[in-house]
Symmetry: C2
Subunit: 203 residues, 2 copies
């Protein structure tokens, strides 16, 4: 074991290391539109569960030191889509993190087909196996580092019935959904087991 003097670390090294510490992360593409219908797609490793009832989901938007098209579009249109990254599209998903100009759609630039579902105004990633349509609820500024917690409510949901267990558990692994670590590492998963609801006098 080595003790790390965090403050003494070089900037890029520190980013790689500190980003490793929170563990494995979900990887999702967030789709948005501006007021003219121009689409945007960007990969996020910070989408997390906030609550089931109501169905709330959060993500962190990085500081506005450079333009952040995703949060700008969400403020304008109030809707977005969350599209899990899979083993089949993780390379294109990673490419969406490049700094494309505002007028460029990452759907086209990165080779990811889009798909609209019914009346929902923002496109989904066609080959992503779960379709999550979200209404913007609120943004919470994190003044300590100028990031923003974006809170949304899930209003549209389509899932493959083949992966949906009888108790509502959705088998992400069966769908080829991947996870990430640090800033740039992609991982498949292998289920160990599901464990029963824990009670004090039972193991």
């Amino acid at each position: 074991m080595i003790k790390i003097d965090i403050e003494a670390l070089e900037r890029r090294y520190k980013a790689n290391l500190i980003n490793s510490l929170s563990g494995f992360k979900s990887l999702n593409l967030i789709g948005t539109c501006d007021e003219d219908g121009n689409t945007n797609l960007a990969i996020f490793n910070s989408v997390f569960h906030l609550g089931a009832d109501p169905p709330l989901i959060g993500f962190i938007s990085r500081p506005n030191s450079v333009p952040r098209h995703t949060i700008e579009n969400i403020r304008k249109s109030s809707h977005y889509t969350i599209n899990p990254v899979t083993k089949d599209n993780y390379q294109q998903a990673h490419q969406t993190s490049a700094r494309y100009a505002q007028k460029i759609s990452e759907f086209e630039a990165c080779g990811l087909e889009y798909e609209y579902i019914k009346e929902f105004k923002v496109p989904f990633v066609k080959n992503s196996p779960i379709k999550i349509g979200v209404d913007f609820v609120r943004e919470v500024p994190i003044m300590e580092n100028d990031t923003i917690l974006v809170i949304g409510q899930i209003v549209l949901l389509e899932v493959p019935d083949i992966a949906l267990n009888q108790d509502g558990f959705l088998n992400l692994e069966q769908l080829g959904i991947v996870c990430g670590s640090s800033l740039d590492s992609y991982h498949l998963t292998e289920q160990i087991s599901r464990l029963a609801y824990a009670k004090p006098n039972k193991s």
Copy 2:
């Protein structure tokens, strides 16, 4: 694909399904102490990266409909430890989610040895391969569902040098760290690859 009518779902089914949607999750044991030095340990699947500089980390504390010893202790002592769950301790880690009484330490009740490091007042999980000591920064109420975002700053860090790459990337997989999905599923990972920093005209 089937369209899900979320509002019509039975409560437990809904919890399993909505908890699946955010993707794979980090799994961490959070260690705390009350003012008398009584220790507490609880598993969380909502620890996430907030920023590298300063090194900030967040997690979500569930609603106070039942006593929440972790957040209560953090308010009292201002310090906590974050201990990644591994393939060797995930069963004991899961058991910490049982509702033990306030005076019971989950370290003892669940068979997880503790370890103190230097002057840091809160214990770490001895067999967890990464030691993260955190100072409480602030709590942010999420009034939409009475959860709380807890923000902390990493002030103590020890990692195994064998898993630390030259660029600061920490190999979680090599350390046997696991991830979770939905409420009760545990997964090993298998790295696909690390990808280069993305630029617009390069794939």
